[in-house]
C-alpha cells in the first residue's frame, strides 16, 4: 500500500518546464501542461526531463494560458468554472492584441476548450454592430466593390430595410 501512495504522490508532483519564445521559464505540474494536446504529445514522445520549448508563444501569453490550464485541471463544479471563465475572458478581452494572440496560441497548442471560449467571446464583440463599427474596432479595410456590396444588399435586403 505504502508504495502505491508514494507513487501517486510522485505522479502528482511530476513537474515539467515550458520555455516561451522570449526564453521565460514556467514550471508547472504535468497534468496542467497536459491540457494542451500538443504539449501532451510532446511529453509522451520526448519525456518531461528536459524543458519543452514553446517557441511560438510569448511569455505573457503562455502565462495566461497556463493559468487557464491550471484552473481547468482541478475539476471544480461547473458553476464555479463558468464564473471563473467569464472573469478570465473579461480581463483578456480588454486588450485586443493580447486577446488575438491568446486565440492563436491556444489554437496552436490545441486547447480546444479555450479556443471555443475565446471564439464565443469574440462573436459577442461582433454582434449588433454596423459594418463600419466593426471595421473601426478591428482595423479592417473595406475592400468590397460597389457591385459586391449591392449583391449582398439584395441577398440580405430584408435585413437592412428601415422599420
Amino acid at each position: 500500500m505504502a508504495t502505491i501512495i508514494t507513487k501517486e504522490q510522485q505522479e502528482k508532483e511530476k513537474m515539467v518546464t515550458l520555455v516561451s519564445s522570449d526564453s521565460e521559464k514556467f514550471v508547472v505540474e504535468q497534468k496542467v501542461a497536459e491540457k494542451s494536446h500538443v504539449i501532451k504529445m510532446v511529453m509522451n514522445c520526448c519525456g518531461i526531463e528536459s524543458p519543452i520549448p514553446v517557441r511560438r508563444v510569448k511569455g505573457d501569453i503562455l502565462k495566461s494560458i497556463l493559468e487557464y490550464c491550471e484552473k481547468h485541471s482541478k475539476g471544480e463544479a461547473q458553476e464555479v468554472m463558468e464564473k471563473w471563465d467569464k472573469e478570465y475572458m473579461d480581463k483578456a478581452e480588454k486588450d485586443l492584441v493580447f486577446f488575438h494572440d491568446l486565440m492563436l496560441a491556444s489554437h496552436f497548442l490545441h486547447i480546444q476548450e479555450l479556443v471555443d471560449l475565446i471564439a464565443v467571446t469574440f462573436a459577442g464583440m461582433l454582434k449588433m454592430k454596423s459594418p463600419e463599427e466593426i471595421r473601426q474596432k478591428f482595423n479592417i479595410n473595406n475592400d468590397l466593390t460597389k457591385e459586391q456590396e449591392e449583391h449582398i444588399m439584395t441577398t440580405f435586403g430584408w435585413a437592412f430595410q428601415p422599420i
Partner: protein, 324 residues
C-alpha cells in the same frame, strides 16, 4: 468539442516538436495574405490577421440577426459567411434552423418571453426565447405538427391554432391535410402541460386564419371559403371551454371569387383587436401589391370599425401593436 480526424494535425504536431526559427513567421498555416508575426499584430490589432479556420470559429458563433451586417464588413468576411464550412460549423453549434421554420410558425409572448411552435415538418419542438439571456431553448414537444399555424396567448397559455398537417404523421395523407385547420392546442407555460389530447376545434368547420389573445379570451378569425367568421374562446368555463360567435369583420365586400385574403391580428390593450387584412384582386396583382385593410374591433361595444388603409406596397405585412 470532440476531437476530429484532421489530417493537418499530425504534420503540424511534428513541426511543433522540432522548433525551427525560420518557421517562426509562418505561424499561420492558411494565409492568403502575408502571415503577420506577433510584433506586427502589436501595431494593429486586427481580427483579419487570424487564419480562416479561427475566423470561422468566431463568425459561426455570431447570432443570426447580426450576420447580414457582418458580410458587408469586407470581402473576406463575405466569402467566409457564404462558404459551406460556415454552414457546417453553424450546424455543429446548433445555430442553424430549418428554413421552413421561418415561414409559418406560431409565435406569442408570455411573461416577457417569446414562444414559437410549428412550421417545421421534421420537428415538433416548442422553443422559448429569453430576451435577457438572448438565447433559445427547446421546452416541449407539440402534440401535432402544424404548418401555417397561428399563435395566440391568453392568461399564460400559449395557443397553437390551425395550420396544415405536415411531417410523417401516420394518419396524415395529402387529402386530409386540412383536418387540423380548425383545431387548437394549448400549452400552459408555467406548468409546461399541454391541454387535453383532443384538440378543441372552431365550430362550423372553418380554417383558422388569424387569432390573438386579449384578457383571458382568445379571438379567432375562421375562413369558410367566401365568408369569414369571428369567434371568442373562453377557456375559463368548464374543462372544455366555450366558443361564442361574434360579429364577423366587414370584409365580405372586398372578397371576390378567385381573390385571396391574408389575415393578421393583434390585441390592442384589453378592449380592442386590430386586424390587418390583405386582399388581393386581379387589379392589385397587376400592380404587384395587395390592398391592406385595417379593421379595429371594439370588444366592449362588439363592433368593427375601419381604420386608415395600409399604404400601397406592402405585401405580406405582419402586425404588432404598441400603445403609446
Amino acid at each position: 468539442m470532440a476531437e476530429t480526424c484532421n489530417p493537418r494535425r499530425l504534420p503540424w504536431l511534428i513541426k511543433s516538436c522540432i522548433p525551427d526559427p525560420r518557421r517562426e513567421a509562418a505561424k499561420l498555416p492558411s494565409g492568403t495574405r502575408p502571415p503577420p508575426t506577433v510584433t506586427s499584430t502589436a501595431a494593429s490589432p486586427s481580427i483579419s490577421s487570424l487564419p480562416d479556420d479561427l475566423l470561422l470559429e468566431i463568425l459561426s458563433r455570431v447570432p443570426q440577426p447580426s450576420i447580414p451586417s457582418l458580410s458587408l464588413v469586407c470581402r473576406r468576411f463575405a466569402l467566409l459567411l457564404d462558404s459551406p464550412s460556415f454552414y457546417a460549423l453553424r450546424r455543429s453549434h446548433g445555430l442553424l434552423r430549418p428554413a421552413l421554420h421561418a415561414l409559418s410558425f406560431a409565435a406569442a409572448a408570455i411573461a416577457g418571453r417569446i414562444y414559437v411552435a410549428g412550421g417545421a415538418a421534421r420537428s415538433s419542438a416548442v422553443e422559448e426565447y429569453d430576451p435577457d439571456l438572448d438565447s433559445w431553448r427547446i421546452i416541449s414537444d407539440a402534440p401535432r405538427r402544424r404548418y401555417g399555424c397561428v399563435g395566440a396567448t391568453a392568461s399564460g397559455v400559449f395557443y397553437v391554432i390551425g395550420g396544415l398537417i405536415v411531417g410523417s404523421s401516420p394518419r396524415a395523407g395529402r387529402l386530409d391535410a386540412h383536418v387540423w385547420a380548425g383545431t387548437m392546442d394549448t400549452y400552459e407555460v408555467e406548468t409546461g402541460v399541454w391541454g387535453s389530447r383532443r384538440a378543441a376545434s372552431v365550430p362550423g368547420g372553418g380554417c383558422v386564419v388569424g387569432a390573438c389573445g386579449a384578457g383571458s379570451h382568445v379571438y379567432v378569425l375562421a375562413s369558410h371559403a367566401v365568408e369569414v367568421s369571428f369567434w371568442r374562446w373562453d377557456a375559463g368555463k368548464g374543462r372544455r371551454g366555450d366558443w361564442l360567435r361574434l360579429e364577423p369583420p366587414p370584409i365580405t365586400a372586398h372578397l371576390r371569387l378567385g381573390g385571396a385574403a391574408r389575415f393578421c391580428c393583434s390585441a390592442l390593450g384589453q378592449d380592442k383587436i386590430v386586424a390587418l387584412v390583405h386582399v388581393s384582386s386581379d387589379a392589385s396583382r397587376r400592380r404587384g401589391s395587395t390592398d391592406g385593410v385595417v379593421l379595429v374591433y371594439d370588444i366592449v361595444k362588439g363592433e368593427w370599425n375601419r381604420g386608415p388603409d395600409l399604404p400601397v406596397g406592402f405585401r405580406r405585412a405582419a402586425l404588432a401593436c404598441v400603445e403609446c
